[in-house]
Each structure stands twice: as structure tokens, then as C-alpha cells.
């Protein structure tokens, strides 16, 4: 063990194990998670060469191999609970990227949600056993988040009772679906349905794409890998072009809408329930933000405790870089953010499960707010995390740029979260739509409930019978509750500004859509402020629930730091809204620096509590034992460029010298 880390761990004010239990939900969860992780760590079948030294095609091969053995291993280990499956996958896949993954995460669920009983009987068994491998093909080269813009067509031919699938333009080629390029032999394709000369909008079709036995593309199908990407080397994201490709009528998923043999279209019953899947995935992504940021913080904080640089006092040995105020200021607010997002992620998961149960009982009342909240929080947490991972990487200096740090990999794996499952800007605007609706509702005299209930207290709402709180309130910068109030006021103010600007534009432009576009920057600001408030509120509430005093104390410091740092970074909003005074902002900045000093002794224990295995971190800099430099040297020696002592390109140099 590196002596610096040993010293850090001995000096912590709390037992990280207790905090780990809080993050896992209970000591029992922690125990079971570790048990599963150890099964993988001790299994020789999961060992492979360091991915950083492999080519893209080799990395894909490793991932396919792992997918192939995973199914049988889970069966063998008796892992069936969804949370346990996730622990299992998280550790053994490291990046959570698997070519066969979409078969389970999209193909099978879609079949279950949209297929008839007969269709499920036909396809479910074979896809569960991986006798067929499916993927889900929605996005096209020219079309993403805006679903209605998709161009792929499925035209019904009553004579043969088949659908004819076509990609009529270059922009209509299916592009990006995971596992499509090389792995899958079936795809659920989203296409515009045409029957009896009329377009009925998007529907889902099961399309065989590769021949069983040879794995060759079927006639009429052009399929392949979309080429190298920023990350996701293990994944064969693919393209799919269809030319007059025929599939039987029964391959349209017909649980909701149907096409009769004669071509008659039968409309689906109202189905708001497809919302559910999106809400689930987006709330899951909030948790992903937390996990990715926690990993990055673990690496950067440990390395900062091991790395020594320059001097604070001349003549003394070089200090740990974690002792520099600038380094603390870079990392501790991110560490606080990681904890904030951990708790928000857990809250989203619970809320989803609770509301999902309500939906099961036919109660859809909370769905609109949940939908708006998940959209906004997915965007808010992923944008923040995206920037924060990069900040952690840069805080590791030059070595952060090497793949040995593991940070480039965490970044490139995480960053697509900002654009997939709904582009973040579009997500923020969806939340804004909900905020504007709520604002209008309050304005017309109706109270709103849930996270937006603060809109009921807007000073402009004169119709309110009760006395409204005096604005501004006095903010106590040492009280998380009081800071939550300050964030609430900021959100209320920015929502109101956006709403008023929107109204003004509507009057001027006479078109709601144009007015919306010309207010969209304000609208995104309002959504961000709303989400920021929600995060502060949830973090504050979580801290109060913690029983153990030492844990509560350290989390309270992080919660304060998170809240104060946000105020400092957005001081303009708080000053302009007269929510805080100049001297309070000065106090906030001073208090932040005190908190940095207070958190410093616990920093390493705080990242230890995330309890990541070294394998999961994939980082030489972030090793638990802190033996960074020796292992960095060993790691480098394994690099492909070092396979020979004199590189083959020496011949170019020789010939250059002879010619100049």
C-alpha cells in the first residue's frame, strides 16, 4: 500500500463501509453485490488482455466472447434479480457495452410490449436463448430524436399478404443501432406503415436480416458496421438499408394496431404506456451519470493524494497535489456532485417503481410530471457529468491523457448519454413545456403540486388568497434548507422570466412555434434552474435521513459545498434576482474555501466508499493500493509499439538520411 494513501485512510473521520451501505441501500445489498463481483473476479473465463492494447476488431471479439459465456454463467451463479444482473454486467463488462445487449434491453422488451401472444410464442423463446439475436432499429442517418421524421416505409401488399420494406433515400438508412453491424440476425425496424394507399405512421416490424447458418445478409438487405467512433469500440453499431424487402404480414407487431389480411388498418387503443419505457431508461441514465462521475472522482482523488508536485513552502518536500487549493477547488465540488447524483439516481429509481405500480392500477396522474422530471434530470446530470469527467481527467495532468488513467475511456463511453435517448437540449425543452404549462395553470388560478409547487408562491400570483412570503428571504448560507429555498426562488424567477418572454414573443410573432424557438435559450435556462433546485432539495432531504452521526456530518459538508458552489458559479442569477446580496456572495466564496479544507481529510475515504473494484475503474492512476508509478512503467512496457526494440519504420528514417 502506498504510504500516502495509507495515511489518508487512517485519518478519515468516518468508516467508509457505513457510507457504502448507504449508497447500496443496505448492508445486505453491499454483501450480495460483492459476492457477485467476486464470482467474476475469480473466474478465469472472464480474464482477457488489457483492452487498451487491442485493435477495435479485437475488442469487439472480446465483447462477443463475454456475451456468449455470460448467459450460461448467470444461470450457473443463480443470478436472476434485475439489480443483481446489473451488478454482474457492470463488473464483467467494465463499460457496460455488449453487442448482444440490445437483444435483451430492446428486442425482447419491445416484443413483450407490442407483440401479440402468438408473436411472443413464436419469437420469445428463441431470442431469450440467443438462438436468434435481435436488435432495435429506430434512428436513421438523417433523423434522430424527432420520431415522426423517420423515412423508412413498410407498404402492405394484400396479394401476397406481405409488407414491402424500403429505405427510399440515403437519409433513411437505419444508422447507429447497437449490435446491428455484425452480430444480429434479426431487427425490430420502425417504419412508416402504408396500406390501402394511406400512411398510418410509425409501426414496428420484425425483420430477419442475416441468413441463419451462414450469417450472410439476406437478399435485399445491405447491412454493416458504421465505422470507428469516439468510444464503444466493442459495439458494432450498424447501418441497414432495405430494397423492396418482403416480410410476412405476421411480422408486424400487432398487440396495439393491426393490419388485416385484406389491408384494413385497425387503430390502436389509446396508448400512453409507451411513455413508460422512455421514463425508465432516462431515470436509469441519471444513475449512470452518478456512477460514471463517481469513477472519475475516485481516480482523480486517489491520484492527487499520490502525486507530489512543486512546493508550497520552499525547502519542504513536494506536497501532495491534493493539498493545493486549486486542486481541491477542481475536485471537491465534483465529488459533492457525484454524491448528489447518487442520491438523485436512487430517488428516480424508487419514484419510477412507485409510479409504475400506480400505472398498473390505472392511475396515470403522476406520469406527466415524472416524464418531465426524468427528461430534465437526464439532461442536467449528463451535461454536468460530461464536463466533470473531463475536469477530473485534466486534474490528473498529462497522465490523464494516457489510456493508463482509464479516464479517456470513461469519458468516451459516457459522453453519448448527452445525445442518445433524447438529445439533451430537446429534453430540457420538454421539461420547459411542462414548466410553462404549470405556470399557466397557476396563472389561471389553479394550484400545482409536486416539485413545481413553488410556482404557487410566485409574488406575481396576486390571486393567491394567503399572504406570500416576503421576497427576498434572508438566506442562511450554513443551512442546507435555507439554500434550498434560495434555489427555489431562482427557479421560480427564471421560470417566470421565460414565461413572460414567451408571452411577449407570442404577441409579436403571432405563431406559437416561432415564439417558442425565439425563447428557447430562456426556456433551457429555466429548466436547468428547476433541475438544479430539485437536485439540491433531494440531496438536502437525503442527508437528514441519515442516522449515523459521522456519516451525516461528512455528507452535510458535501451537500453544503454542492449548494454553495452552484450559487458561486451562477452568482449572477442570485444577485440579479435579489435572492442574495453581494456580501452574501462574498461569504459564500469564503465558506466554500473553508469547506474545501474541512473535506480534505476525508477525500480519499469518500471515494473509497463508492467501492469500485480496480477492474471496474480500469485505471493505473486510480488503483486502490496507490502504487501508481511502478505499474505505469509495467503497463507501458506492454504497449504494442514496444513489441520490438527497433520499430519497423526505422527503414523510412534510414532512407531519409541517405537522400537528404
Amino acid at each position: 500500500m502506498n504510504p500516502d494513501l495509507q495515511k489518508e485512510r487512517a485519518g478519515a473521520s468516518f468508516n467508509p463501509e457505513l457510507l457504502t451501505n448507504v449508497l447500496d441501500g443496505s448492508p445486505e445489498n453491499t454483501r450480495r453485490r460483492r459476492e457477485i463481483e467476486n464470482l467474476i473476479l475469480n473466474d478465469p473465463d472472464f480474464q482477457h488482455e488489457n483492452l487498451n492494447f487491442l485493435s477495435r476488431s479485437q475488442r469487439y471479439e472480446v465483447a462477443v466472447k463475454k456475451s456468449a459465456i455470460m448467459v450460461q454463467k448467470m444461470r450457473k451463479f443463480g443470478i436472476a434479480d434485475p439489480a443483481e444482473i446489473m451488478w454482474f454486467k457492470k463488473l464483467h463488462l467494465v463499460n457496460f457495452v455488449e453487442p448482444v445487449g440490445l437483444n435483451y434491453s430492446m428486442f425482447i422488451p419491445t416484443l413483450l410490449n407490442q407483440g401479440t401472444t402468438a408473436q411472443q410464442e413464436k419469437w420469445l423463446h428463441s431470442s431469450k436463448g440467443l438462438e436468434i439475436i435481435g436488435t432495435y432499429a429506430q434512428t436513421e442517418m438523417g433523423h434522430g430524436t424527432h420520431l415522426r421524421g423517420l423515412e423508412t416505409t413498410a407498404t402492405y401488399d394484400p396479394e401476397t399478404q406481405e409488407f414491402i420494406l424500403n429505405s427510399p433515400t440515403v437519409t433513411s438508412i437505419k444508422w447507429w443501432p447497437g449490435g446491428l453491424g455484425k452480430t444480429s440476425n434479426h431487427a425490430i425496424v420502425l417504419a412508416q406503415l402504408f396500406t390501402q394507399g394511406k400512411c398510418y405512421g410509425l409501426h414496428a416490424f420484425i425483420v430477419p436480416i442475416r441468413e441463419l447458418g451462414t450469417h450472410k445478409p439476406l437478399p435485399g438487405i445491405t447491412v454493416g458496421d458504421i465505422g470507428p467512433k469516439f468510444g464503444y469500440d466493442e459495439m458494432d453499431n450498424g447501418y441497414l438499408k432495405m430494397d423492396n424487402y418482403r416480410i410476412p404480414r405476421e411480422n408486424m407487431l400487432m398487440k396495439h394496431a393491426q393490419v388485416k389480411p385484406d389491408g384494413t388498418y385497425v387503430k390502436p387503443l389509446n396508448n400512453k404506456l409507451t411513455y413508460g419505457t422512455m421514463v425508465f431508461i432516462r431515470s436509469f441514465l441519471v444513475g449512470e451519470s452518478a456512477r460514471s462521475l463517481s469513477k472519475a472522482c475516485t481516480i482523480a482523488v486517489r491520484y492527487s493524494a499520490v502525486r507530489h508536485q512543486s512546493e508550497i513552502n520552499p525547502g519542504e518536500p513536494e506536497p501532495q497535489i491534493l493539498d493545493y487549493q486549486t486542486q481541491q477547488y477542481k475536485l471537491f465540488p465534483l465529488l459533492a456532485t457525484a454524491y448528489a447524483f447518487q442520491f438523485v439516481g436512487a430517488y428516480m429509481k424508487e419514484t419510477y417503481l412507485r409510479i409504475n405500480e400506480d400505472i398498473g392500477h390505472g392511475d396515470l396522474s403522476e406520469l406527466p410530471e415524472l416524464h418531465a422530471l426524468t427528461a430534465g434530470l437526464k439532461a442536467f446530470t449528463s451535461w454536468t457529468t460530461n464536463t466533470a469527467i473531463e475536469a477530473c481527467r485534466m486534474a490528473c495532468g498529462g497522465h490523464g491523457y494516457s489510456h493508463c488513467s482509464g479516464l479517456p475511456n470513461i469519458y468516451v463511453t459516457f459522453t453519448p448519454t448527452c445525445t442518445f435517448e433524447g438529445d439533451n437540449t430537446v429534453m430540457m425543452l420538454q421539461t420547459a413545456r411542462f414548466l410553462m404549462k404549470s405556470y399557466d395553470q397557476v396563472h389561471s388560478g389553479k394550484l400545482v403540486c409536486g416539485m413545481v409547487s413553488y410556482l404557487n408562491d410566485l409574488p406575481s400570483q396576486r390571486i393567491q388568497p394567503q399572504q406570500v412570503a416576503v421576497w427576498p428571504t434572508m438566506v442562511d448560507i450554513n443551512s442546507p434548507d435555507s439554500l434550498t429555498e434560495a434555489y427555489k426562488l431562482r427557479a421560480a424567477r427564471l421560470v417566470e422570466i421565460a414565461a413572460k418572454n414567451l408571452q411577449t414573443e407570442v404577441i409579436h410573432r403571432k405563431s406559437k412555434e416561432v415564439a417558442w424557438n425565439l425563447t428557447s435559450i430562456d426556456l433551457v435556462r429555466a429548466s436547468e434552474a428547476h433541475c438544479h433546485y430539485v437536485v439540491v432539495k433531494l440531496f438536502t432531504e437525503k442527508v437528514l435521513q441519515i442516522q449515523e452521526k459521522s456519516i451525516q456530518a461528512v455528507l452535510r459538508r458535501l451537500c453544503l459545498l454542492y449548494s454553495l458552489y452552484g450559487i458561486s458559479q451562477n452568482a449572477g442569477d442570485f444577485l440579479q434576482g435579489s435572492i442574495m446580496t453581494e456580501s452574501q456572495i462574498t461569504q459564500v466564496n469564503g465558506r466554500i474555501k473553508e469547506l474545501l479544507t474541512a473535506i480534505r481529510p476525508d477525500a480519499v475515504a469518500l471515494v473509497d466508499a463508492f467501492d469500485f473494484q480496480d477492474v471496474t475503474l480500469g485505471s493505473v492512476l486510480g488503483r486502490y493500493d496507490g502504487n501508481v508509478y511502478e505499474n505505469l512503467f509495467e503497463w507501458a512496457k506492454k504497449s504494442p509499439l514496444n513489441k520490438t526494440e527497433v520499430h519497423e519504420s526505422y527503414k523510412h528514417l534510414k532512407s531519409l538520411q541517405s537522400k537528404l
Binding site: S67, G149, P228, S402, G572, E582, W635, P640, H647, L653
Partner: protein, 682 residues
């Protein structure tokens, strides 16, 4: 040669004869002459012509194509970069392009600097600035003829920006008149130098000089590391590549462990210090002179490496944003170009404005560098502190902002920005390295901060005395009269360069004063000098950033004054200058509101002025990126091509990926057995 589409578009593509109508319509009515703006950026029409001539030569050589870069492994990238360098040198010899000529610079630009031996030139430049005349006479021709290949070995496994912390030792042995160069610990292993891993035969090693038993600090030594016969490592040398990185795969960043390696006394660079045969140490310059080579590199990389990456990213993202259509602005309209969305403009135009602002900033710095460098080489170091502070600060600021800008452009391209074929991931991984190489940015900001504090304290020492007039020009504003309140009364007032430059000056001065005040308060409370400094570094960085923003706003507005004779271009660039200044004010609104310099109402005015600029810039956006005049080959992006046929290129290019052309071994090994179950049952 005119800037016609034929020049810009890759030859041989089926689409190059036609323009995508969505991009053609953008070029239809031109509010300014794009060619004239290109000439301004190139520094004259004759430069534009020369650059294009070089580019067309380079692009006609298939050996210099970048097209397969995204498909290559690290080994292949490295070999390709060496091959390209070799090829360009042969071209240079044939066409008479001399070393350091514009032609060679343009050649390097047109292959995006994807060449081997980049550090070889830094090795050579450092010898020229730190070596004596005899040393230059001996080594320089060897470098020029590539008889030796050099690298510059400064950073170590455990040590980076902080020079004094380096552990490598060079101990003088008077008996043999040799230095013994040695890596005493694991952390002393040289780590990161480019060209070191596989290529270099000689390294310029920065090491602690020990002579006559005394430590004399860092000095530079020429150390032979590989055999000139068979390229094998010399005795006592352990050397290799440091392994895969985010980018710079074409460069063999390396490690070097020295085990008591002996070199002759003459191999210490001795323009500013030397060791006499008996071991006596003689100083010939100020200690700062060692920093000189770092200053040279920092100035060089801004124009040569960092800025073009942002300009390319803007070109790609803006062009793609007029091709990409998404959703509808009105229910009855066709899907809108994404560039028509206000949120998209908010993402792309601030980086575009920076791409122009930084062009003028980097050129201004280069001029100042040339001006001061001639004095310094003659032993007059008066301008060195300012040059050092300005180059350190601007390197940090430009690399930070360019990195954020490139990433913003990448993300503004949605999913396709994640594909390497967009060109954007490579631009990002390349530019982001500049935040930590050649001085970690936080450390650099703090170096500038020290200069600012010193300058500020100078103004306090002798109020009213002649000293005030002698403040270095970049900090002269510290003594300028200052307003307590901003006089703006309307949104339009915020479009006056004088007004926003003054606003930035006000905030910078306030923050510098504030940071000095904090420092002094801590000192008076009994904190020791160094702890007090550490406890105030966060605000020093904040103050320095405000200072640098002020400097860049000022340089940009001054550069525009010189363009008043070209009103159309002046108008379009002034909008960018306005946007640049206002974007900074709005993202740092708290600093402007803090002491009431701006009121809440004024912030709203500034925001209105800012939002009103977006639609104006919108209609010139394509032209503004066209003016950077990157060829398609140089952009190497499926999304950013001049003719706008993004989707066709993306589809065709993807099909050439090795994953599609080289078979699928994973199928035979794993997928087929997986699928066996079904066949058995059939």
C-alpha cells in the same frame, strides 16, 4: 488561385460536381466578400495564393492522404506519420521549400500536422536558443539533414510543469571532463517526450546540474540515446513507447531511463551558463533564460496547432447544421435546418466568435514575441517577464476555450458527432491535450497571476510617480481611470466596443485588487507567505481569467479598427467581437453585478443585445466558416464537406471501414456456436 469550390472539394467524389441545395442557398447572397476575409486571415492575398498552391500539391500526392487515419491502429498511424514526413521532406527538397518556410508550414497545415518528428524541430530550436555559437554550428546542420533525430526530454514520470522538481541528475566528473546523466528513482524516468519512444537518436535532457558538489538547478544536455548504425538503444539507456493515449497516436511519446550515462562536457548547452573544465560553474544570463524555449513553444502552438482545431470544428458543425433538418418550426413547414434553432445558434456562435477573436489574439502575441525575442537574444531581458506572463496566460486561456468550443461543436452534431468519420472526436482529443502539455493550465494561470500582482503592487508603491507610465502595456489599464457604474442605458449601448472593453477592464481590476487584498489580509493575520499564496490561489485564477478576457476583447476590437476601410467585413467581424465580449459578460454576470458596476436591468440589456446578434450572425455563418478556407481533405470529415453532401459521404466512407471489409472472426468463433441451438432443433 481563386477560392472556388473546385479547390475546396475532394476530387474524385461523385458529388463534387453538385452542391447540396441547403448549403448552396446559404452562399447565395453574400453580405461580404469571403475571399477578402480569407486574405485577411492569411495575412495577405499573396499568402492565400501560396497556401492554396501548396495545398493542391499536397492533396495531389496519394501518400499524404489522411483518409484512412480513422481506421488505423497506433502502430499504423505512427508509421504513416513517418512516411508522410519523409514524403514532404522529399517534396521540399525537389521544390526548394526551405526549412521554416511558409511553404512547409502550409504543407503541415494541409496534412493537419499529422507528421512524424515534430519534436525534432523543438530539439533544433532549443539548441538555437540555448546553445553557444559553436554548439549551433556543430548540431544544427546534423538536425537539418536528419543525420540525427532529436527529442526534448523534460517531464518525468513523477514531475511535470514544475521544473525545479525534476530529479534527473547530471553530475560533472572533472577527471574525465564528462557529465554523468542518471535517473536516480522510478519517478525520475523521463516520460511523455514526443519522438522519444521509437524514433529519436538524441535527447535534449533537462537535468539538475551538479558540479563541484553543488546543485546548480536545471540545465539542458544533449544525450545520444540510440545507435546511429542500427538504431538500437545505447548502453545504459532504457527506452520505449508510453502506450496508447487519447490521441497523438502518430507520435511515439516515450520513456527514457538513464543509468549513469556519460556525455562530454561540450554537450551541455551553454549560451547562458557553462561548466569550465575544472568544474567551475559560470552564469552568463538570468535564471529565467531556461524558460525561453518553453515560451517559444507556447507561442508556436497557438497558431500552429490549437486554433486551427477550433476553426475546423466550427466549419464542420456549422456546415452540418444547415444540412441536418430536424423537427419543424411551424407545423406547416418542412423540417427546419437545425441552425435555425436558437439553441443551436447559442451552441455554435460563441465558439465561432472565439475562432475569430483568437486569430487576432494569437497573431498579436506572435508579433509581441518577435519584438521581444530579438532583445532577449541580445541579452536584454526587460520584456521577458511580460512575454512570459502573457504567453503563459494566453496559452492557458486559448487552449481551455478552444477545447470547450470543439467539444461544444462535437456535441452540437448529435449522434453523428460521435462517429470518428465526423472528424470531430479527433479534433477534440487533439486539442484537449494542449490543456496539459507545455505547462498545465492552472499552473500557467498562476504564473500570470504573480505577474499581475507584482504589476499591481508597483502601481501602489509610488502613486503619481513616473513608474506608472512604465507599466508593461498589457497591464497598463491597471492605472487607467475607472468608472464605478456602467453608463449603458439601452441594449444598443452594449454594442459599443469602448463600453464593453471598459466593463471587462473594470472587472479585471476589481478582481486583481480583491485577490491582492485577500493575500495581504492573510499575511497580516500571520500566515506565512507561501500558505497565504496557496489559500488564495482560487481567486488569483479567477482574477487572471478576467484579465485575459479583457486582453482578448481589447486585441480583437483594436484589430477591427484597422479594418474599417473594408466596411462589409468590418461589420460582420464586429458582430463577432460584440458576441464574444457579451457572451463572456453573461456567463460571468455575477462578477459584473457584484459591486454594482452593472445593474440587473443592464444585464437584461446585455442579454437582449446578445440574443439580437444571433440572427444576424446566422445568415453569415456558412460564409464565416468558408473563409477559414479548409479543403475537404484537410477537414477529413464526412459531415463538414464544402458541397454539403454529408450523408452520402458518411455512408460510402463507413462501408470502407475494416470492420466491413475484413470479415468477422467473432462470428466463426462465438456467434455461430451461440446460434447452433436453433439449427440443431430445425
Amino acid at each position: 488561385m481563386e477560392g472556388n469550390p473546385v479547390h475546396r472539394v475532394s476530387a474524385g467524389d461523385a458529388w463534387s460536381s453538385s452542391m447540396h441545395p441547403d448549403i448552396e442557398s446559404e452562399r447565395h447572397s453574400q453580405s461580404f466578400n469571403v475571399e477578402e476575409l480569407t486574405n485577411i486571415l492569411d495575412g495577405g492575398a499573396q499568402n492565400t495564393a501560396l497556401r492554396r498552391k501548396v495545398e493542391s500539391i499536397i492533396h495531389s500526392e496519394p501518400e499524404l492522404s489522411l483518409k484512412d487515419n480513422y481506421f488505423m491502429t497506433q502502430n499504423e498511424r505512427y508509421e504513416a506519420a513517418i512516411k508522410k514526413k519523409f514524403h514532404i521532406l522529399m517534396l521540399a527538397q525537389r521544390l526548394g521549400w526551405s526549412e521554416g518556410s511558409s511553404e512547409l508550414q502550409y504543407a503541415s497545415r494541409s496534412v493537419s500536422g499529422d507528421l512524424g518528428f515534430a519534436i525534432h524541430h523543438i530539439f533544433q530550436k532549443t539548441i538555437r536558443s540555448l546553445g553557444s555559437e559553436e554548439q549551433i554550428a556543430k548540431w544544427d546542420p546534423l538536425c537539418s539533414k536528419f543525420q540525427i533525430l532529436g527529442t526534448y526530454a523534460q517531464t518525468e514520470l513523477g514531475h511535470g510543469t514544475y521544473l525545479q522538481g525534476l530529479e534527473t541528475e547530471a553530475t560533472y566528473d572533472a577527471a574525465t571532463q564528462e557529465f554523468v546523466v542518471h535517473s536516480p528513482t522510478m519517478t525520475a524516468i523521463k516520460w511523455w517526450p514526443g519522438d522519444l519512444g521509437r524514433s529519436a537518436t538524441h535527447a535534449l535532457v533537462q537535468a539538475q546540474l551538479i558540479c563541484s558538489g553543488a546543485r546548480q538547478g536545471m540545465h539542458a544536455f544533449i544525450v545520444p540515446i540510440r545507435s546511429l548504425d542500427d538504431h538500437s538503444p545505447l548502453p545504459g539507456i532504457t527506452i520505449g513507447d508510453i502506450g496508447p493515449k487519447m490521441d497523438f497516436e502518430h507520435t511515439d511519446n516515450g520513456f527514457l531511463k538513464l543509468d549513469h550515462v556519460r556525455i562530454p562536457r561540450e554537450n551541455m548547452l551553454n549560451r547562458f551558463a557553462q561548466v569550465l573544465p575544472d568544474g567551475t560553474y559560470v552564469k552568463l544570463g538570468v535564471p529565467k533564460s531556461n524558460y525561453l524555449s518553453m515560451v517559444v513553444v507556447r507561442v508556436d502552438i497557438l497558431l500552429g496547432e490549437v486554433l486551427p482545431l477550433l476553426q475546423k470544428a466550427c466549419t464542420i458543425a456549422v456546415r452540418y447544421a444547415v444540412i441536418r433538418r430536424q423537427s419543424r418550426l411551424r407545423p406547416s413547414d418542412p423540417e427546419a435546418k437545425v441552425l435555425d434553432y436558437q439553441t443551436q445558434q447559442q451552441k455554435l456562435f460563441p465558439p465561432l466568435a472565439m475562432a475569430y477573436a483568437f486569430h487576432f489574439v494569437a497573431n498579436n502575441l506572435l508579433e509581441f514575441f518577435h519584438h521581444s525575442y530579438s532583445f532577449i537574444l541580445d541579452g536584454d531581458f526587460a520584456l521577458l517577464p511580460e512575454l512570459h506572463a502573457l504567453s503563459a496566460g494566453l496559452k492557458a486561456m486559448l487552449s481551455d476555450f478552444c477545447t470547450q468550443g470543439v467539444e461544444q461543436c462535437r456535441r452540437a452534431c448529435g449522434g453523428h458527432g460521435y462517429s470518428k468519420l465526423s472528424g470531430l472526436p479527433s479534433l477534440l482529443t487533439r486539442v484537449t491535450a494542449s490543456c496539459t502539455y507545455e505547462g498545465e493550465n492552472t499552473v500557467l494561470y498562476l504564473q500570470t497571476a504573480r505577474f499581475l500582482i507584482k504589476s499591481y503592487l508597483n502601481t501602489q508603491k509610488s502613486p503619481g510617480s513616473a513608474l506608472k507610465g512604465s507599466l508593461p502595456q498589457s497591464v497598463a489599464y491597471l492605472t487607467a481611470p475607472d468608472l464605478a457604474r456602467c453608463p449603458a442605458q439601452t441594449a444598443a449601448d452594449f454594442l459599443q466596443p469602448e463600453l464593453y472593453t471598459t466593463a471587462w477592464a473594470h472587472v479585471a481590476v476589481r478582481l486583481i485588487k480583491d485577490s491582492v487584498h485577500h493575500l495581504q489580509t492573510l499575511r497580516q493575520a500571520g500566515a506565512d507567505e507561501h500558505d497565504a499564496w496557496n489559500q488564495t490561489t482560487v481567486i488569483h485564477v479567477q482574477a487572471t481569467k478576467a484579465h485575459l478576457y479583457y486582453v482578448t476583447v481589447k486585441i480583437f476590437t483594436e484589430a477591427l479598427e484597422k479594418l474599417e476601410s473594408q466596411p462589409a467585413i468590418h461589420q460582420v467581424l464586429k458582430r463577432l467581437s460584440d458576441l464574444y465580449a457579451l457572451h463572456g459578460i453573461l456567463t460571468n454576470a455575477g462578477d459584473f453585478l457584484h459591486d454594482g458596476f452593472l445593474s440587473g436591468a443592464q444585464i437584461d440589456m446585455a442579454r437582449k443585445a446578445y440574443l439580437d446578434l444571433l440572427p444576424f450572425i446566422r445568415k453569415d455563418a456558412i460564409l464565416l466558416t468558408d473563409a477559414f478556407d479548409f479543403t475537404d481533405q484537410c477537414l477529413n470529415s464526412a459531415l463538414g464537406c464544402y458541397d454539403g453532401h454529408a450523408y452520402e459521404r458518411l455512408f460510402q466512407w463507413a462501408q470502407k471501414s475494416p470492420t466491413n471489409t475484413e470479415g468477422n472472426p467473432a462470428y466463426e468463433k462465438y456467434i455461430r456456436p451461440l446460434l447452433q441451438g436453433r439449427r440443431a432443433r430445425l
